[in-house]
């Protein structure tokens, strides 16, 4: 039956390619309908089982970190296509299985959004999971933050082997009580704690410093003077040069490291793996356009936007574009922009652009934070071309962009420029 499922999926994939399409969901959908137990059976044959990575922010890059580190010693199957649904996982499995039905992997690492993670663990009990954070999204998608934490609790409860939790997000740390699996924590040092505010702290709540022990602790952040992040593992400090920029990625690296340690990986192997992780799709991905460097940064919710803005601490770009769309996949409600503090942009010498369907909304938001906008251009390509044209060769343009705008801009940048590997 597994073999039949693999063939059915592979033939669907082939069919899609013949008509010139590259599908992620359809082969998974077809197999899911015909062989509903396929995924569970395929995953049961992996010697190290399944790792689920979920949380509101940082899933994609963290999943890539986990997969890259585990790749140092294991054969890793992962859904690095950005398709974070059960069907995406099925499609990834089918694509990577041989025609004889063999799945030549030791472990699967899947990024799943909170709601889908619950569906997934109903089908497949993960051996391990890494739970990152619970932040406000455009809340109409999953409901309230407490509801979202409840979803992660179900993932923790379904996990059989080892659960890695962010000790600095109290809602996440509390999920230790929901699982019978082994639990370990990652975190940031007390000195760095206020740089990683949780939802309550953003609105004036006291900064909570956890006394839970962290297997991996972030000690110092990368800075222009010291570009490496320092991670404390087993009482010793290690420097690691991360290619994914920003404090949030240094924090996520600790989670990925803690998870890899649960496999019995030694510290050297974990650190070597982390140093190899390149930015994920649209998460700090860099392009060159006419000799200018254009960095694409996805923003989806207030906490993520705040964190991503901090990538500007290390290097000031000559131009900043903020592209806000309000299509269904972005969230129709753009009120979350008011939960982001943009005042730090005010003193920067960068030229500033707003773009996308809600370019005017974004400009209003910036104005109330005393940030002047040089140009408001709804058309995404025009906005980026304008920003690129306004800076010199060798200079930087950083584009912060919501989901659908990011996809559109990714296509534009591939057409008018080149991706930097």
């Amino acid at each position: 039956m597994t073999l039949l499922a693999v063939w059915l999926g592979k033939l669907t994939l082939l069919g899609l390619r013949l008509i010139g399409r590259r599908g992620n969901a359809l082969p998974g959908l077809v197999v899911e309908k015909v062989f509903p137990r396929f995924l569970a059976r395929a995953m049961a044959r992996l010697p190290e089982g399944v790792v689920v990575v979920t949380g509101t922010n940082g899933k994609t890059t963290t999943t890539k970190m986990v997969a890259t580190v585990l790749d140092e010693g294991l054969r890793v199957l992962t859904n690095d296509t950005g398709s974070n649904f059960v069907r995406g996982a099925i499609t990834a499995t089918i694509e990577n299985a041989s025609w004889s039905g063999r799945l030549p992997y030791d472990v699967a690492v899947f990024e799943l959004d909170e709601a889908w993670a619950v569906r997934f663990v109903g089908l497949v009990a993960p051996r391990r999971c890494l739970l990152l954070n619970v932040m406000r999204d455009q809340l109409d998608r999953f409901g309230e933050i407490d509801t979202t934490a409840g979803l992660l609790g179900k993932v923790a409860a379904a996990t059989t082997g080892h659960v890695v939790l962010n000790r600095d997000d109290e809602r996440v740390a509390a999920l230790a009580a929901r699982t019978r699996a082994e639990v370990s924590y990652y975190g940031v040092s007390a000195e760095l704690r206020e740089m990683f505010p949780n939802d309550e702290e953003l609105y004036g709540g006291p900064v909570h410093v956890s006394d839970l022990p962290a297997t991996v602790e972030l000690r110092t952040l990368p800075s222009p003077a010291h570009p490496a992040a320092t991670l404390r593992i087993g009482g010793r400090d290690h420097d690691v040069l991360l290619r994914a920029e920003g404090p949030h990625n240094a924090q996520n690296a600790c989670g990925a490291a803690a998870l890899a340690l649960s496999f019995g990986f030694d510290q050297a192997r974990v650190l070597a793996g982390l140093a190899k992780v390149s930015p994920a799709f649209g998460r700090g991905q860099t392009f060159t356009v006419d000799g200018r460097r254009v960095v694409l940064q996805l923003v989806k919710n207030p906490a993520g936007f705040r964190q991503t803005l901090r990538t500007l601490d290390a290097r000031t770009p000559e131009a900043v574009v903020i592209a806000i769309n309000d299509d269904y996949a972005d969230g129709r409600d753009v009120s979350w922009l008011w939960d982001v503090d943009f005042t730090a942009l005010g003193p920067l010498p960068s030229r500033r652009y707003t773009a996308g369907t809600r370019a005017a909304d974004m400009a209003v938001r910036l104005r109330y934070d005393e940030v002047d906008v040089d140009e408001i251009e709804v058309d995404l390509e025009k906005a980026v071309r304008s920003a690129v044209g306004a800076v010199q060769a060798g200079e930087h343009v950083v584009v912060f962009s919501t989901y659908t705008a990011m996809w559109a801009l990714h296509a534009v940048l591939q057409r008018i420029g080149q991706a930097v590997q």
């Binding site: 809340l139 609105y203 409600d333």
Partner: protein
């Protein structure tokens, strides 16, 4: 010029969908005109400043509404006296509901409000979500985003802020949105609503000055940008 005192109610608990932005909008619109302003956050257990001019409250998660419920209810007599005295209140969603007589949950539990507004809200499971705006007789258009599950009905002592053309409004039935009595305004429009409604925002300021006996001629600000954002929002799908 007198200093306007803005009171931000429960900033920690009641702040979803950008409602905190309403405080920033009013503060900046005063500061840009060189007018003195003070913002006082009032959390559970804090006293309400007796010289408050404008009270601002936002929406919250259900759990947060539970946390502040007792504290809010205990402020009933004080808030009713302030409303009778013409104080300006601008309350969104959860704060709007609690300014009413009561909130009746789906399970039939009665949670007492403070009775400042003659409205009653009934919980239900379906959420009313989408872009929405309302044209008000006194202060132009209020543009925002509604997202609520409580259904609010108005009694004889409150009149609607306006009639919604495209949204669901107070209850999805009678076409009304929001409620007004004296200088107290409740609405379901998040957004923050004042960001794209500059004339409405200035009208709140004008009411607050008038109550203090000052007929403030507020210098005009360049509102081309919020007006453009408002037109865009009104033209977008729900």
């Amino acid at each position: 010029m007198i200093t306007l005192q803005l009171v931000h109610l429960y900033p920690r608990e009641m702040n979803i969908y950008g409602d905190t932005g309403n405080v920033l909008v009013l503060r900046k619109r005063l500061q840009w005109r060189g007018l003195p302003v003070q913002v006082t956050p009032v959390s559970v257990g804090d006293p309400l400043p007796t010289d408050a001019d404008i009270l601002l409250g936002g929406g919250g998660q259900d759990a947060a509404q539970g946390e502040i419920g007792v504290d809010f209810a205990a402020r009933g007599p004080e808030l009713r006296a302030m409303a009778d005295d013409g104080m300006v209140m601008f309350a969104i969603c959860g704060s709007y509901q609690m300014l009413g007589h009561e909130f009746v949950t789906q399970e039939g539990r009665h949670i007492a409000g403070v009775g400042v507004l003659d409205v009653v809200t009934h919980g239900q499971s379906v959420r009313l979500i989408g872009n929405n705006h309302v044209d008000t007789p006194e202060a132009g258009r209020l543009v925002g985003y509604e997202n609520h599950s409580g259904l609010t009905t108005l009694g004889a002592g409150a009149r609607p802020l306006g009639t919604t053309q495209t949204g669901r409004g107070n209850n999805g039935q009678d076409g009304t949105e929001g409620a007004v009595r004296d200088n107290v305004i409740g609405t379901y429009l998040h957004g923050p609503a004042l960001a794209k409604s500059p004339r409405f925002a200035d009208d709140l300021l004008r009411r607050a000055y008038l109550r203090r006996g000052v007929d403030a001629a507020l210098d005009p600000l360049d509102d081309a940008l919020p007006d453009l954002a408002a037109r865009t929002a009104v033209g977008r799908p729900r």
